[in-house]
């Protein structure tokens, strides 16, 4: 979707302002927000793609005014309600009112090391041969889906070159919406800055994305 998260090339956000010796967390609640998010992820009720889509579905004014872990909390509340683990009333009041759905698993402290070490690999076998090869010229499609996509707006309808075939990966545009993993080949596609940013672009700059096969057409 053309949501507030899709920031590449937007202007007006000011300086980057790195913080010297930045701590991992700026408040206690940020620690709990991280832990709650990972714990609820362990339910197995939604995928990383659905959780990304929840965050990008936050209305733009709220998204851009929120700190990062606030975005996570708004996203997780949306998912808890959607999947029947908590009602809107429970989330609004903080009071336990009804039982709700039981998750496949609850993350206990003794499971944490193993779960974090295992991670969530997203590579999958793909039955077809890759449609594109290294060196092929391709154009990204001009996709503007209402649902989740990982093709950034600035890189749509742009001509580039396939630089690497990365393997088969879960297709987020389907997986975010419960339509299955439907893995596809993923390619690293490199663009000149002139192709993306046009007149006056830095001639020494190139930008690449990792794009799923259905985002691309042959040139």
């Amino acid at each position: 979707m053309n949501g507030p998260h899709d920031l590449g090339g937007q202007m007006g956000f000011g300086l980057v302002a790195p913080e010297k010796d930045e701590p991992y967390f700026h408040a206690e609640w940020e620690k709990r927000a991280l832990g709650i998010t990972l714990s609820c992820g362990a339910f197995g009720a939604w995928t990383i793609d659905e959780s990304r889509h929840a965050r990008e579905s936050i209305p733009p004014a709220n998204y851009l005014a929120a700190s990062y872990y606030e975005i996570w909390i708004r996203g997780i509340e949306m998912l808890l309600e959607r999947h029947g683990f908590a009602t809107g009333q429970e989330l609004a009041t903080g009071r336990h009112l009804e039982q709700g759905h039981a998750p496949k698993r609850v993350l206990k402290s003794e499971m944490v090391d193993a779960v974090l070490a295992r991670g969530g690999p997203c590579d999958r076998p793909v039955a077809t041969v890759p449609k594109f090869a290294i060196g092929d010229r391709v154009r990204t499609k001009n996709l503007n889906p209402a649902g989740h996509t990982r093709l950034p707006r600035y890189a749509r309808a742009k001509a580039g070159v396939v630089e690497a075939v990365q393997g088969g990966f879960v297709f987020p545009d389907d997986n975010a919406h419960g339509r299955g993993e439907n893995p596809q080949w993923v390619y690293t596609v490199i663009f000149t800055a002139a192709e993306i940013w046009g007149e006056g672009a830095d001639p020494t700059l190139t930008v690449s994305i990792d794009g799923w096969e259905s985002y691309l057409e042959r040139l």
Partner: protein, 210 residues
């Protein structure tokens, strides 16, 4: 509300934070009462990312690549396997790719869509990496971004920006600083900063540590 609350550049003012403190506390309490989460698991997650996983992992990967040509080749060919061989695996490091700076090209990593970042080698990302200013500008004005980190590259040096839009997580291998021939891996690792592995910095010279 005072005028202070209307400062849109300041997401960190006290009231906003205490609102979130209350909201997250209420959520944790609710989920604990419902038997959905274990607060001890949250403690364990936080402890992991505060004390066990961080950019020193990545620094050791880079130092080994500088010191050992075979490892560098392996890292270039199959970063996931090479990094796993040093024991750095897990969440947000499942699919790794290492990109090497050269005298001609400087690499910079961003996730314009969210906050994709190689946790297993760099730990949790800093606030600026996840914030709109960096995500919006890294792909259109990387030289301007680098200047804000105090990095000025020769005008002729190409900049290659990698937008982490899929599940591949990128590690920049900075150029090895001059006058480091005699240094052991451990000393080399001290020259590798977190920012140099994102591309917003360069590796330190040995003098910088003195």
């Amino acid at each position: 509300m005072s005028g202070h609350h209307h400062d849109h550049d300041d997401h960190h003012h006290d009231n906003h934070y205490s609102d979130m403190q209350a909201r997250v506390k209420a959520l944790e309490t609710l989920l604990t009462e419902k038997g959905l989460i274990d607060p001890g698991a949250i403690d364990a997650i936080v402890e992991t990312y505060e004390t066990k996983v961080g950019p020193r992992n990545g620094a050791r990967v880079v130092a080994k690549a500088w010191a050992d040509q075979n490892f560098a080749e392996w890292l270039k060919r199959d970063a996931t396997a090479a990094i796993t061989s040093l024991g750095y695996t897990g969440r947000q490091g499942e699919h790794m790719r290492a990109v090497f700076n050269t005298p001609e090209t400087h690499n910079l990593v961003v996730c314009t869509l969210c906050s994709c970042y190689p946790w297993s080698v760099l730990g949790l990302p800093p606030v600026w990496y996840k914030a709109p200013a960096y995500r919006s500008r890294a792909v259109i004005d990387p030289r301007g971004v680098l200047a804000e980190f105090g990095v000025t590259l020769p005008e002729t040096m190409g900049i290659r920006v990698w937008d982490s839009t899929a599940e591949l997580r990128y590690l920049v291998v900075p150029q090895r600083p001059a006058d480091t021939e005699g240094l052991a891996e451990e000393a080399l690792a001290n020259l590798v900063t977190r920012d140099s592995m994102i591309g917003t910095g360069l590796a330190l010279s040995p003098e910088a540590l003195r």
